[in-house]
């Protein structure tokens, strides 16, 4: 059985923004799924939904099965027990995701104590081990976040995510704020630790090249939906969806900030979630759109073995 199964997940913010519009994904135990897409396509919303961390005004429907248990219908007590112990998150900006007035050692130890995984003394010892695992001296436990470099802070976030030995780690653009060399180091570190400890990984990035290199499978999101999903190398080298092709062409090398908002060769802006185009939401920007695309919205359907895409051109002729 897969560790994580997302079925028809929909998230609508209190403002009326439909940020996620029917996502189906699965992650097998010990495997790595990459999620790619332009800014605003709903990647972070998806990540936060996995542990029900969205603002209370957001409406969620569908199913998020973590080890067979639906996160969306869990009681609060059970949800708190699953948070971090079952699945943990590496957030984007480590400067803001760490508490500035607490020592990093205390912040890493906190989930261990909250989930009663260790006594205070044992927790202190484990913090040292965790810090060394991510390549920081154990003595850095007494440092405050502002005393560390960006890369070191992100390592602390990774150590923290590993603390309770979760089954799943969600990494939401774990390296966006870092410079290119550090990005690669931190990504390698995360990949290695997750593999060694047999933890499943959902890695979110706008950068398809990075994901292709790290993950087993890749999902491409557009306007709150998965438009393509398949084995990582297939999606990167031979994307079936025109948007997937544009994305993989857009990132010739890791971490080029200029390509973040405007993938190369793709005209126009991502659609406004408040005013989505009818038919295939990608059709105003699609270089190969057919006349019928403006009215017909193709579902995600098999396009090759183990590979799905949501495009009329790959799943058969329009009805």
């Amino acid at each position: 059985m897969s560790l994580l199964t997302i079925r028809d997940l929909r998230v609508t913010y209190g403002t009326g923004t439909a940020a996620v519009r029917g996502v189906d994904l699965t992650v097998a135990a010990g495997r790595k799924l990459g999620v790619a897409g332009e800014s605003g396509c709903g990647k972070s919303t998806l990540a936060l939904a996995l542990l029900r961390l969205l603002p209370p005004t957001a409406r969620l429907t569908g199913e998020i099965l973590l080890d067979g248990e639906d996160v969306l219908t869990m009681k609060w007590g059970r949800l708190r027990a699953v948070r971090w112990a079952g699945a943990s998150i590496v957030f984007q900006g480590a400067m803001h995701s760490l508490n500035a007035v607490h020592r990093i050692g205390d912040q890493i130890a906190e989930p261990l104590l909250v989930h009663r995984r260790a006594t205070p003394n044992a927790a202190r010892e484990r913090v040292g081990t965790l810090l060394e695992q991510v390549g920081l001296p154990a003595a850095r436990a007494s440092a405050y976040p502002h005393e560390l470099s960006g890369g070191q802070r992100q390592r602390v976030m990774i150590a923290m995510a590993l603390a309770c030995e979760p089954r799943l780690i969600v990494a939401d653009e774990p390296t966006t704020a870092l410079d290119v060399m550090i990005q690669a180091q931190v990504l390698r570190l995360l990949e290695r630790l997750v593999t060694e400890q047999d933890i499943s990984l959902v890695m979110i990035s706008h950068d398809l090249a990075v994901l292709a290199d790290t993950c087993d499978r890749l999902a491409v999101m557009y306007a709150g939906r998965v438009v393509e999903e398949g084995p990582a190398r297939d999606v990167y080298d031979a994307a079936r969806h025109p948007y997937g092709r544009a994305l993989s062409a857009a990132f010739p090398r890791i971490g080029d900030p200029a390509s973040r908002l405007a993938p190369r060769g793709l005209p126009g802006d991502p659609p406004d979630p408040a005013a989505l185009p009818p038919g295939c939401t990608f059709h105003p920007r699609c270089p190969v759109a057919l006349p019928t695309c403006a009215s017909q919205d193709p579902p995600l359907a098999p396009a090759a073995p183990g590979h799905r895409a949501a495009c009329v051109l790959t799943t058969g002729s329009p009805a």
Binding site: W84, I89, S97, V101, P137, A184, Q185, R188
Partner: protein, 343 residues
Amino acid sequence: MTTTVGSPAGAARRPGTTATAYPRYLAGRLGGAAVSLLAVLVTSFFLFRVLPGDPVKAMTRGVPTSAGQMATLRRQFGLDLPLWQQFTDYCAKALTGDLGTSYQFRAPVGELIADKLPATLLLTGVAVVLYSAVGLWLGTRSAWRHGGLGDKLNTGVALTLWSVPSFWLGLLLIIVFSVGVGPVPGLFPTGGMESGDETGPAYVLDVAHHMVLPVLTLVAVGYAQTLLVMRASLLDEMGGDYLTTARAKGLRDDLVRRRHAVPNALLPTVTMIFINLGHVAAGSILVETVFSWPGLGGLFYQALSVPDLPLVQGLFVVFAGAMIVMNLLADLLYPLLDPRVGR
């Protein structure tokens, strides 16, 4: 990608967080406070020279005095000297701790102030501590459930009380709880600090009994400011990503608030609380008057009406001095609370 596996990215310390930073900071703040105190000394001398009225005439009001006697008095108090010489005399004495002699009481200003200071410190000290605590607590609750009924009620009541004149509220409390209204018996004394015949523990209780209404008045009109600052500060923190991290870790809501949000939100309020503590010496002239509290407020009122220049100057120096000292304490404490400020 052809990058290597991350090598230990060791202890890259930032400059400026060395062990010598705090002593230097300390010296800077102490120097600043000393300069401010000197400025206060100078200002206090000139500020009150503009008060209308001739001190010697005021001193001898109602007593038949000859021109010769007036001249003697003038000489005695140094009022016949040129202004600049009065000023240098005043400064020289002040630096040795001598604040001069009161015109009306014919007693050293320092002694007069020392006599009344404890009563004021007790009353306003207790009031400031209480209203800071109440304000922080209610401000936290308000912000955490912002926009809700509790929040609206909370801020509404606080703002209403804030806009009430303190002497009016004091009088109202006296009428209701001291004099007694209808079925309400007179529960508290109308004024003063003690009944005069108690000793030991009974004396402490007696003073506490006298303090209830004036403290209540000061707390009621004073807590709104702390509440609003704490509320705004916590609202600022509530969007913080580190709170999402704390929730993701599985912390209960109250732990997220107490352990993560409040310590960050408290930082901006620390300075304000110390400024309020700085008001301790000046007390509340109006409330002390309404409740006949034997503190500095009443003394200041008496000094102004003469005008008793040495006493007015002395009180001004003490009031401003308390302010400067509390500001200094806030400056010294802040780096110890916020690790981001160099220490």
